[in-house]
């Protein structure tokens, strides 16, 4: 049973005016097609429907962005993998008294002709040797060119050596009609080796490529030690010569001094040679007339693509697609979580603002 206050409250209940009720009834019946103004003001024209973007646009756009990011990431990873596998050979590894050799073959195996390419990626070559290490780098390149371009290619090889600050140590060019060949031994400064290899690869089709790195620190140390010993002996002999009392002793010491000087000279030459081996890379370039060689290679291998190769290709495509999907999920999941958190945060903020309005009213 309501008490007096409750009854009074119920009597205080305000009812809408007839005019407002009629207006609202009409709007509801029309599905809220027109927006009424405040009482007394003319009703406003129906609001133009907001141009809403299609609902699928945002997820599609987000997926497109995520897919693009994944492609970039995969490309970046693939590039770095390629760099890691193509470079990094180095003889400048842990010290040992023996010289160490590491070989790196590119483009072919067992001497067979590989698929020719004008622009095989140049390997990065030897790893930077550690301090005080001496590393000798050598490379070998086989290029094929049309028979009528052998001479031109030979000239280009010499040009490359000169442009890279090196020189042609030896060369043999045999340009016969319908055939031709050239063999070169180039010396290229080691810091320009990669650039030289890249420039040489542009001269013809690279059918074989090899790079070798050898740690020659031991040889260098031996040559330097020999020089040091020879010099020390000469110093000692000079002192003894200064103190010689007899002619016989003097003659003997002078003869030994001559030997010591000869050994010093030889040791200096040996040391310079080791130094030069480390400072200049040896590049063996073989030019071969290959008109049709590339086409022959293609013809030999052209019929090889069959079901097996197709299966391998399809598997690779699926692997890449799966990888992209995983990466997309890795990118999308945090974004979706952030979006949810953002939406939730916004709702919470609006709720807090409403409560504040209630408290301050």
């Amino acid at each position: 049973m309501p008490d007096a206050l409750e009854t009074a409250l119920l009597e205080l209940r305000e009812t809408p005016t007839a005019e407002f009720a009629a207006d609202l009834d009409a709007r509801v019946a029309a599905g809220f097609g027109a927006t009424p103004g405040r009482r007394g003001a003319p009703p406003q024209p129906p609001r133009k429907p907001k141009r809403r973007l299609p609902g699928w646009l945002f997820p599609a756009g987000g997926f497109a962005v995520a897919a693009a990011l994944c492609v970039l990431v995969v490309a970046g990873i693939s590039t770095s993998d390629m760099d890691d596998s193509s470079g990094g050979s180095g003889g400048g590894s842990a010290a040992s008294s023996a010289d160490q050799t590491m070989e790196q073959a590119q483009g072919s195996s067992g001497g067979s002709t590989a698929a020719p390419s004008r622009s095989l990626p140049a390997p990065s070559g030897a790893a930077t040797p550690g301090r005080n290490r001496k590393v000798e780098r050598t490379a070998a390149l086989t290029l094929t060119t049309p028979a009528d371009e052998v001479e031109r290619a030979a000239a280009s090889v010499s040009d490359v050596a000169g442009r890279q600050g090196g020189y042609v140590e030896a060369s043999t060019v045999d340009a016969e009609r319908g055939d031709g060949s050239g063999d070169f031994v180039l010396r290229i400064p080691v810091d320009r080796l990669d650039a030289a290899m890249a420039a040489l690869a542009r001269i013809g089709d690279v059918t074989q490529r090899r790079q070798t790195t050898q740690d020659i620190t031991a040889s260098f140390n031996v040559a330097r030690a020999a020089l040091g010993e020879a010099r020390a002996e000469r110093t000692s002999l000079l002192k003894r010569l200064a103190d010689a009392d007899t002619d016989a002793e003097t003659t003997s010491l002078r003869a030994r001094l001559r030997d010591a000087n000869a050994r010093i000279g030889a040791a200096q030459v040996a040391l310079r040679q080791v130094d030069r081996r480390a400072a200049y890379a040896r590049v063996d370039v073989a030019l071969r007339a290959g008109s049709g060689a590339a086409a022959d290679a293609d013809a030999d291998e052209g019929s090889g693509w069959g079901v097996g190769a197709a299966w391998d290709d399809a598997r690779r495509v699926l692997e890449v697609a799966a990888g992209v999907a995983v990466l997309a999920l890795a990118v999308l999941a945090p974004l979706a979580l952030l979006a949810l958190l953002g939406a939730g945060g916004r709702r919470a903020a609006v709720s807090r603002a409403r409560n504040r309005a209630l408290d301050s009213a």
Binding site: E6, A8, P16, D23, L24, R39
Partner: protein, 159 residues
């Protein structure tokens, strides 16, 4: 959900709630229209597992009313439209009008939270459980809030 039936059933209740909370007839009409328009556009999203159509509607109406309060707080305070007493009323009726005016004044003097719970319970006609659903609190909490609001109202009337 039958929106038309909900509208017919709840139109006057929503208006009464808004008028008591905002003590402004014009604002109450605006809030009522806004509430029903929002409900109309969201009718497909109504989830019966989360409450009855009435509590869902009053949740929308409450937000619309609070948005009006927020809007007001950023502008100058609007003067409420006073309800004039009828001059031709008989003495008994005049005395009752004064009582109503005193009650109306006391109601306006309450804190908005107290006024709101009274509006939902007595002017919107919601049961305690429904008020609890609209406010997002427990039914026992609503009973406590209502008791405090009525006590303050009595104190204001006695003052």
């Amino acid at each position: 959900m039958d929106f038309d039936a909900l509208y017919r059933d709840a139109r006057d209740d929503v208006h009464a709630y808004a008028a008591t909370l905002l003590h402004d007839r014009s604002a109450a009409e605006e809030v009522t229209a806004t509430a029903f328009e929002r409900a109309y556009r969201r009718a497909r999203k109504f989830d019966p597992q989360r409450g009855t159509p009435r509590t869902w509607l009053f949740g929308i109406a409450r937000n619309a009313a609070l948005d009006e309060l927020r809007r007001r707080s950023k502008q100058a305070t609007l003067a409420a439209e006073p309800v004039a007493a009828d001059a031709a009323e008989a003495p008994d009726q005049v005395a009752a009008a004064i009582d109503r005016e005193a009650l109306r004044t006391a109601l306006r003097g309450l804190h908005a939270r107290d006024r709101e719970v009274i509006a939902l319970r007595y002017h919107a006609g919601l049961e305690t459980s429904e008020v609890a659903a609209v406010l997002g609190v427990s039914a026992s909490n609503v009973a406590t809030l209502l008791h405090r609001a009525m006590t303050k109202l009595r104190e204001a009337l006695d003052a």
